[in-house]
Subunit: 167 residues, 2 copies
Amino acid sequence: MEFKEAKEQFLQTWGALGSQWGINKTMAQIHALLMISPDSLSMEEIMEELQISRGNASMNLRGLIDWGIVYKEYKPGERREYFKADQDVDSLARKIAIERSKREIQPTLRVLEDVRNFDENDSSEAQKFKQKTQELYDFVSRADTMLEKITNQKENWVTKTIMKLMT
Amino acid sequence: MEFKEAKEQFLQTWGALGSQWGINKTMAQIHALLMISPDSLSMEEIMEELQISRGNASMNLRGLIDWGIVYKEYKPGERREYFKADQDVDSLARKIAIERSKREIQPTLRVLEDVRNFDENDSSEAQKFKQKTQELYDFVSRADTMLEKITNQKENWVTKTIMKLMT
DNA sequence: TTAAAGTTTCAATAATATGTGAAAGTTTTT
DNA sequence: AAAAACTTTCACATATTATTGAAACTTTAA
């Protein structure tokens, strides 16, 4: 396999993985491209490499910056903006965890809480509903606590955890 | 809030959460509906409650059965098939973890391995590529090991883990 | 064996999500 | 201050994914 080919396949695969986990394909690809680039890239270069339009590149780069995993860089003497990705995979995971919790899990927990305050109704249907939404609430908040753990540690939490479990 | 309303909102929210995590909305909703139903439901009842077509119901129920989180039930003397959801939230999480690992993570790991065997090329670009794909490989397989942990324990792994970390 | 009751499939359609490109906006240089 | 270099926005186009509904299929009961 040629290097170019390998790179191509990697960008494709990573993009596909992204979509399966709720991150849009192009965004995942831009991020992947920046991760493997020794130097920061201009928007032109990104457009060229991924064959995408300026608008698309601009929007998704902004998205990545909002997620806090890509930075703008200004090169001295250069007008153009360059972009670089956070280089640390663990810090990447941490940031994604924080954001997804904030954007998706917290709102879901709020709804799960709300939804149990309906007017008195003691049908078995209502009973079961209360019970299951409670269970889901407990489960989701446990999962969220895990994400928080990842979040609050500088050190790599995943490895540490696995070490503990293996002993 | 009325019970009916609460139920409605729950089904909506759970469906939305599903889409954000790569599970199709209807599938998530059917599953949610079965979770909170005291009795198993026929396809008719599901169609009615979620206002979806027969085809849609059939396809997504099959999907849920493939994932191993919904079962068919035959009531004695009844012709029609009834469906019920796995009632245990932890076992649900376990099954989803197994399937997503098999369907998404394993293939990605294979690509990440493959992609580093390109023809000799010692450009800094190629070096960086090798390094980052290695780091990603390590990270993804660590994450996968975590999922496997969830998978191989009867007992609730998440709670156990958090307990360990808190002591 | 055939009608009835039910389920599945799949081509057509609808809904949603993504991407484009040109115009508008911004900043820097001359 | 106005032209050049670049970025952002957004209405529209395209692609992707989900849904429908009717026909085909399967199973059971009479």
